[in-house]
Amino acid sequence: MTDDREPTMTGYDQARWIDGDEPRYEPLLSEKDETTVEVGGDDGPLPDDLTRDDLTLPELSEPELARHYTRLSQMNYGIESGPYPLGSCTMKYNPKFTEDVAALPGAAVHPDRPDGTLQGTLELMAHLQDYLARIGGMDEVSLQPPAGAAGEFVGILVAKAYHEHNDEGHRSEVIVPDSAHGTNFATAALAGYDVIEVPSAEDGRVDLDALEAAASEDTAAFMLTNPNTLGLFERNIEAVAEIVHGVGGLLYYDGANLNALLGRARPGDMGFDVMHYNVHKTFATPHGGGGPGAGPVGVVEKLAPFLPAPRVRERDDGFERFDPEYTIGKVHGFEGNWLVLVKAFAYIARLGDDGLRDASAKAVLNANYLAERIGYEVPHGPFHHEFVASAGDQDAADVAKRMLDYGVHPPTTKWPDIVSEALMTEPTEIESRDSLDDLAAAFEAVREEDDETLAAAPDRTTARRIDQTEAARNPRLSWHDLAD
């Protein structure tokens, strides 16, 4: 290592609202005010038997609320607070101008208007469908799924409808590698499939023999992330496609790791039949503390008639919505998370071909540079935009808690479990070399510390280590439960 630096532990003390020596946490809204209003009565517009008796809610002034939520925000770590290398989540900077584009007044329209009055909205959707198709090497795209898991659900429902259409409704199994995202398993089950898990090979990739053994005339689809959750490109992807297609199954691409491949490889060229895009990962729309995201689905031509309704297309006299011939119907009450899609469009337009290619190049560069400097072993490679290190003798969850004290967001931990004490790390392209050096110093410092120190961490955050058992044993989900 060159340019070793000491972790500073400065610049990041979360707000704790110290009052004297005691931390004074931000009270709940209900602890600030509870106002009860009678409902109905002689002045009300409805007969009493149609109304409730009263309503009790906090009632605060605007300045009080501004302080409340500002304080809460100061007890929360965002991408602009510091590095956020949460593996598998692609925590990129969210460009500010995309927020302004989504806030343009003309974007706030109701979906039940006739197509002729919505030409701008439909045109933007048509462009985004087209962009995504090109980026993924797919023929057609649906923008409707409101998240990645919803995209998976659409993809598997489309596969199911396709098989049924071809009188192959007997196919009852979806194959998933052991290293896959939990959503893959859950989605296949939600769609009514038996989930067949295949173990990874020693090198962390798909075990072709295991896949061959699992694949059969009962196989509806094989769901795969590429590069996989270890960051490894599935070099045998063409052989994988041959096995799956050979038994009449479809190959599903989980788009969670697409940020590794922009402009370098496309799922459609690898033999994938259907894929979802996580626009809140790859295309930098904000994660919003858990959502909303969007999970558009791309398909090859033969699957297009089964996509959700409606889709958008251009005709001689403008843009229109239409229902694909054998559509699976809908997976969202309307047409998905529209404002998120606008932001994704703006981001893709900002980067263009060269910018997209560069984003992946820098994401891969950053992951490789960081891995070189963290001191923890990375058992599998060559990896791309993320790597999974092993915390070795240390507890990965404790490592993460201690990293909080060094002012950075830790990696995803203890998953995938084919690496023991996994530290799944994805710095994304937005980190500078300087910032990566800081991050590496934090890893390095924690690696040198003893178990006792780690177990006692964190101590510089808003809350100290939180008792998960207590939360689960006595679930209290609202302020009403605290009053008891």
């Binding site: 605060l60 809460l72 820098k362």
Partner: protein
């Protein structure tokens, strides 16, 4: 446009200078960025997408032009997507980067702020529904309904396959429900409605031991207020089925409390607070009873204590979720609508109990007043259902409804067509000042 950090053609959102890139490659021991990719030649992509990069200013102009192509209409539209006025405070606070750019609270020690906000959101839902287990969000009302059906399937003690829904139900909501039960043995069937509300006698006849869930809405998709909720609750109880009620937090501010009429699950669109009209983007509210807590889909924020003995918030009961339970999870949902839930909580807190009740009463009064005004026009009957209404109502038009709709569009107003001679009109505090203009336009269009 180039500067130190934005090299021509690169992403403007990566900070690397050429010198830094070279030094980093050197540290790794790689010749070039391309060498870092382990992609077989046969599947490598060396083509172009053909997407031109634009500047920030150009994209803002482009999108401004695109949205300018949307007709400038006053929307009297609802039917499961309602845009109330959202105070500026909501945008400014929710857009703080600590909220907007963070992700799921896997590290609760540094995300107490968002966790508390979600806990407060859950608390507001618990208050308006009277039920004890609210989750931290689903995608929208339709997917929340689908999740409720799968909850019913998991909870059933004995066999049972029927999910009963009203014959008047938004087709989109029905389609989503059908897809969510596609992987189960559940069958969705409709029961009759009477004057837009539940036909209670017909429902009692339809419900049997094989029924696992009965779904009803209040207000209904046609804006009518349900009058026999407690009876529906009893019918569900007698059948051993869950009573799932669809509503929203504005309506629930004044309408009968779901818990008091026997509702077991409440679903609906909570984004009526916090979000403007957004082309159907919503927030699925999902609240159920304490006894079902281990079977709930989605994330739950709970309370615990930290090592210093202080109250702390955390995601809890995660063993229900896909990242742990995989194919045996209660749902496949991961990314949800947390940021919209934050917005909903801020908006609700700003209105407070009295503001929320005022807003809800306005939705009743304005609908009633507008219906009466339209009813006075020759060629229009409004409302056609002899019920109380919330936000919206259906009117009968002597002319073909589509022709009336088109004439109204010409005059700058949008309404729904729901039958050959039926239009649906939705009015809230956002459009109340334009109702006189709408009535004038209807006078022309109704002829």
């Amino acid at each position: 446009m180039t500067d130190r950090y934005h090299q021509a053609g690169g992403t403007p959102f990566a900070p690397h200078t050429e010198a830094e890139t070279a030094a980093m490659l050197d540290a790794i021991g790689a010749e070039s960025e391309v060498d870092l990719f382990d992609i077989p030649e046969s599947v490598a992509f060396d083509g172009e997408f053909g997407i031109d990069a634009r500047t920030e200013r150009e994209i803002r102009e482009e999108c401004g032009r695109l949205f300018g192509e949307n007709d400038d209409l006053v929307e009297f539209l609802g039917r499961n997507h309602h845009g109330h006025y959202v105070p500026s405070l909501v945008d400014h606070l929710a857009d703080r980067q600590e909220f907007l750019t963070s992700y799921t609270q896997y590290q609760p020690e540094i995300t107490q702020g968002f966790l508390q906000a979600l806990f407060e959101y859950q608390s507001i839902l618990a208050e308006v529904t009277g039920l004890g287990v609210p989750n931290a969000s689903m995608y929208d009302a339709a997917t929340a309904l689908g999740e409720a059906a799968t909850l019913a399937a998991r909870l059933r003690q004995v066999d049972g396959t029927r999910v009963l829904v009203p014959e008047l139900l938004c087709p989109g909501r029905r389609s989503v429900l059908d897809n969510y039960v596609a992987g189960t043995d559940l069958v969705v069937e409709t029961y009759p409605t009477a004057d837009a509300n539940v036909d209670v006698d017909a429902l009692a006849d339809a419900a049997d031991d094989d029924t696992v869930m009965i779904y009803a809405e209040n207000p209904t998709v046609r804006g009518t207020i349900e009058e026999h909720l407690a009876d529906i609750g009893r019918i569900a109880d007698d059948a051993g089925a869950l009573f799932c009620l669809g509503s929203d937090p504005v309506a629930l501010a004044i309408l009968e409390e779901p818990a008091s009429v026997g509702a077991d699950v409440v679903v609906g669109d909570a984004s009526v607070l916090g979000m403007p009209t957004s082309y159907g983007m919503g927030l699925g509210l999902f609240v159920t009873r304490e006894e079902f807590i281990r079977q709930v889909p989605g994330r739950l924020v709970g309370v615990s204590t930290d090592d210093a003995g202080n109250r702390a918030y955390t995601l809890t009961l995660q063993t229900r979720e896909q990242h742990i339970r995989r194919e045996r999870a209660t749902s496949n949902i991961c990314t949800n609508q947390a940021w919209v839930a934050l917005r909903t909580a801020i908006h609700a807190a700003m209105l407070g109990a009295s503001g929320l009740v005022d807003l809800a009463e306005t939705c009743v009064r304005e609908a009633e007043a507008l219906a009466a005004d339209l009813d006075s026009i020759d060629g229009i009957d409004a409302p056609i259902h002899d019920r109380h209404h919330f936000r919206e109502f259906v009117a009968r038009t002597d002319r073909r409804a589509a022709a009336v709709r088109d004439d109204l569009l010409e005059a700058g107003f949008a309404v729904h067509v729901v039958g050959d001679h039926e239009v649906q009109v939705c009015v809230t505090e956002r459009t109340e000042r334009r109702t006189d203009d709408l009535v004038a336009a209807f006078e022309e269009a109704a002829r």
